[in-house]
């Protein structure tokens, strides 16, 4: 199995933890969990999972991840294969923009942070990102940016 789409399935942190810790989908490349009810602990489990050595595309749009969950990115070291991370419609906020600037995400090519309660300071944080050298597409629309 290379791609699994379980979007819009009422999955909470418990289901996310199951996926992260008990799955046998070792060839999985695309994991689509959009529009569920996954909160910080579920996000933490997904990004720290060691069961997906080939994962390249993770879609977590429209869930319930906040800054405290986003911070877990700074501890993760299993994301070097990740090329696309979509977290539109969560609550990463200003500090969440800092937490995506981690060495583990150095191969990221597409980052979608639309609708994440980001203000000007968050964009300034993103602008200083030194590890996101391979990023070619950044989506930060529908936040609270000023002119």
């Amino acid at each position: 199995m290379k791609c699994i789409d379980v979007s819009s399935n009422e999955i909470t942190h418990e289901g996310a933890i199951t996926i992260a810790e008990k799955s046998v989908l070792k060839n999985l490349e695309v994991l689509d969990l959009r529009n569920n009810k996954i909160s910080n602990s579920g996000f933490q489990s997904i990004i720290n999972s060691t069961l997906y050595p080939k994962i390249r595309d993770v879609r977590l749009d429209i869930n319930k991840v906040q800054e405290v969950g986003a911070k877990q990115l700074t501890y993760s070291c299993n994301l070097e294969t990740l090329e696309k991370l979509s977290i539109r419609g969560n609550h990463f906020g200003e500090k969440g923009c800092l937490f995506v600037q981690v060495y583990a995400l150095r191969n990221l090519m597409v980052l979608n942070m639309s609708r994440n309660d980001i203000k000007d300071e968050g964009v300034a944080n993103l602008a200083g990102a030194s590890y996101l050298r391979n990023l070619t597409k950044l989506y930060i629309d529908d936040n609270n940016l000023t002119a």
Binding site: C3, V6, N9, T12, I19
Partner: protein, 35 residues
């Protein structure tokens, strides 16, 4: 609507072992469906 019980049957079928792309959006799997 797909739920845990019929997903379990589906994933144990012979043809399912060859599947590389599984799309199950907009069902009612919940956390049990991930087990």
């Amino acid at each position: 609507m797909l739920n845990f019980r019929n997903l379990n049957s589906l994933t144990k079928s012979n043809f399912a072992q060859q599947i590389t792309k599984l799309k199950l959006p907009r069902n009612n799997l919940g956390d049990w469906g991930m087990a």
